[in-house]
């Protein structure tokens, strides 16, 4: 029996894509930067089928790469181009779309790894609740991929990252064994928490098939303001002041004039606050039971960092302001393939990072452009270097080196993937990497799961 025939028996012939044309769209990522060839693209429909696929691959000693919405930005769901002599099975979570009933008592729901973020949020809202994580790729990102990268997004300051939403996890080990701990007791202290370990593990330890997710209370009324401030330091000062004033603050996003100009051109709308002066813009969202707009205006009135502001409380107006922030990635991609880096620093170093980025990039590519935006509270910046796609390694090295010198993280929310595996030691110590390597070997001794991602690439680069 060939591996292909075993896979076809497990998931049905229609869900084993062998033809190169059918496989192609899954073998390249959203940015177009990462490509690799797979042996087959397989779409299992449930946990048992995932178990059969993994067991068959393990038996045949064939690697497995897991792919969710394929909107990750670090190549974590794409076959390793350096191992084309040993193409992996590409396991899609597309059909793991079970979405259970919302429990109003526990405020939890069970979701398949392939459930899209937008579908989960709509499901939670239909039950009078909401999901705590939100991000611009909500229509394509899957909850399984979000767990695998410990995704953050625009509401981390209120609800935390993906890890904080996890009440239970079901996953399949490389040998096909199922670990299921979905409706665990609320409080449990019986040894190592494997589900938490899988948060941020990028498919290198096990394949997550279902998640038990915490939901949050729905916020009924919200108000949004886009605020012009002089610079990053004033943006940080504004946030600190607003946090003291507004217990319902739920988002604080930073962008800059060059990015907003690009987005406005891309969307064909006027740049807001174009005449307000200052280089930085902060989008804040505040939720309250009644009168969030009044509270937001009162709070902003007390902050002398505010140069000018535009506010919104109707859904349509709020969406217009959010669109300016959330269209950054699309507008950037439309302008050409950027070098995209997702980094964070200790909050008190954010202004310094922003100030020093142009020089860091200019040293290796004086001709490159820079578009920056991100999550202010976590000092998490999405750094896009424009017109330098052919200098990916040099530009990445320069930016990540600067971030590390400021005590920051080389990946704040996208994961390490293939893109940053060779720079892992900038964020993690040799002792930590040693432990990570041991944990990897404990779960996956033959290195079959997502080879080249996170640690394995690091291995190869030694």
């Amino acid at each position: 029996l060939t591996l292909e025939s075993v896979l076809q028996a497990a998931v049905g012939p229609a869900h084993v894509l062998l033809d190169a044309d059918l496989r192609a769209s899954y073998e390249t990522d959203w940015t177009g930067r990462f490509s690799g060839v797979s042996r087959a693209v397989v779409r299992p429909a449930g946990t048992e089928q995932v178990a059969q696929v993994l067991a068959a691959c393990a038996e045949a000693d064939v690697p497995v790469v897991v792919q969710g919405g394929n909107t990750g930005l670090v190549g974590g769901g794409i076959p390793d181009p350096d191992q084309s002599d040993r193409p992996p099975v590409l396991l899609l979570t597309t059909r793991l779309t079970e979405l259970g009933e919302v429990s109003p008592v526990s405020r939890q729901v069970t979701a398949g790894a392939g459930v899209r973020l937008a579908a989960l949020a709509a499901h939670a809202r239909a039950a009078g609740l909401d999901f705590g994580v939100d991000l611009a790729a909500r229509d394509s990102a899957t909850v399984g991929g979000m767990l695998a990268t410990n995704a953050g997004g625009i509401r981390v300051l209120r609800y935390g990252s993906m890890r904080e939403q996890i009440a239970g996890v079901e996953a399949v080990l490389i040998d096909g064994q199922i670990i299921s701990r979905l409706e665990a007791p609320v409080k449990d202290s019986t040894g190592y928490d494997i589900g938490h370990l899988l948060a941020g593990s990028e498919g290198t330890l096990a394949v997550v098939t279902r998640l038990r997710l915490r939901l949050v209370a729905a916020e009924h009324t919200r108000a949004v303001a886009l605020v012009a401030v002089r610079d990053t330091a004033d943006a940080a000062g504004l946030l600190a002041a607003l946090r003291g004033e507004l217990p319902g603050l739920c988002a604080a996003e930073i962008s800059f004039r060059p990015g907003l100009e690009l987005v406005a051109r891309y969307l064909g709308v006027p740049e807001p606050l174009a005449d307000a002066g200052g280089q930085a813009r902060v989008l804040v969202e505040h939720a309250a039971e009644t009168g969030p707009l009044d509270e937001l205006l009162t709070a902003l009135g007390k902050c002398d960092q505010v140069l000018d502001a535009t506010v919104a409380d109707s859904p349509a107006d709020r969406a217009r302001l959010w669109q300016l922030r959330e269209s950054h990635a699309e507008a950037i991609s439309a302008a050409g393939q950027p070098v995209k880096l997702d980094v964070s620093v200790p909050p008190d170093r954010l202004a310094e990072l922003v100030a020093r980025l142009p020089d860091a990039v200019g040293t290796v590519r004086p001709d490159a452009g820079l578009v920056i935006f991100g999550h202010l509270a976590e000092a998490n910046l999405h750094v896009n270097v424009m017109g330098a796609a052919d200098s990916f390694e040099e530009v990445s090295g320069a930016v990540l080196g600067l971030v590390a010198s400021l005590g920051g993280s080389i990946s704040s929310e996208h994961g390490v993937g293939r893109a940053k595996a060779r720079w892992l030691e900038l964020s993690r110590s040799p002792a930590e990497i040693g432990v990570m390597r041991s944990i990897k070997a404990a779960f996956d001794p033959r290195g079959l799961l997502n080879p080249g991602v996170l640690l394995n690439g690091h291995d190869r680069n030694r």
Copy 2:
């Protein structure tokens, strides 16, 4: 060089206790149930000294048991009595008492593993903040031990367990390597989160030396009520109703008349609500900026589960009501050595657990008494079986079996320790235990850290 001389050189001769009399108080736990002999009791003063102690023990192939406040209830910090032919070094965290400055911006503080909970809370309050975890053993429990067991306590419904308070962890591996990730960026997605893995690992993977802890906003005004209700089902109904009414609800503890009678006798005070009828009592605490007592009374007025209630808002009166709840463990111990079990079930099974406990215990010890209390929101009960200390195994098996049959956890917040290692498979599947065993081997291949605790005891019982 003997191990003893190496240890003395590392931590100073005064901090290596070799004399049996000096060692004795550390070799028996608070309940008196767990005892074991150590080779030496060692008190390192900082991370570097811990590293030297572990490296020396690893070199000499001598096991290491870690002890915090010695208030754990499952023998996790006591040498294994079954391995008296190979006595371990008993490593105390007593001198790891560094307590850093509170950062008002990040709302975090760095604390040594040996810092007592009460000292941490006082330190946080002096800076206008508070620590999110609180429990009755606050004067003796250490934050390191609390992390090792993922301790819960009386405020879990508001702030979560110990795991949720962790922003960073420093720990030492068995070979003496230090893993330090204390002031990590707010949001970080660079691989496996080793700190989270250590939460609940009970000293079997590494020795935690320092913690970076999240603090919470201080609650300035609180009100407490002790409420008489008919039974467990009504207690759960009351909590569900209050959660909807009181966003500032911060504790909901359940106790029962036999326990309250015992505590009142022990304290020499009258039993409160003695004539109110009903068997269950719920202590609720509510915090609000202004007028928490009025809000609490209004909310209670809407709940038809309330048979009677006594309320308090002055600090002294609140303390009196809390004392009735928090003196349970002491009053029970004063009445004789109980079989103490810490369990939880899915919240909708709590009433069934309470109803079936007397029969489960009665089957193995018809003469035993039963005192129950615990944390209502997490359906976490502390089950104390009185007058049956000589039937520990049979009573434990009966209670834990019942809990497992209801889909519960055999350890909700105390950990598995030595006490429950042989019952681990009631809460964790063979696949999970297999993974836990692999993780253990990855960190500690020779099984030198806390042998007999959590998994190792399980090994031996196979």
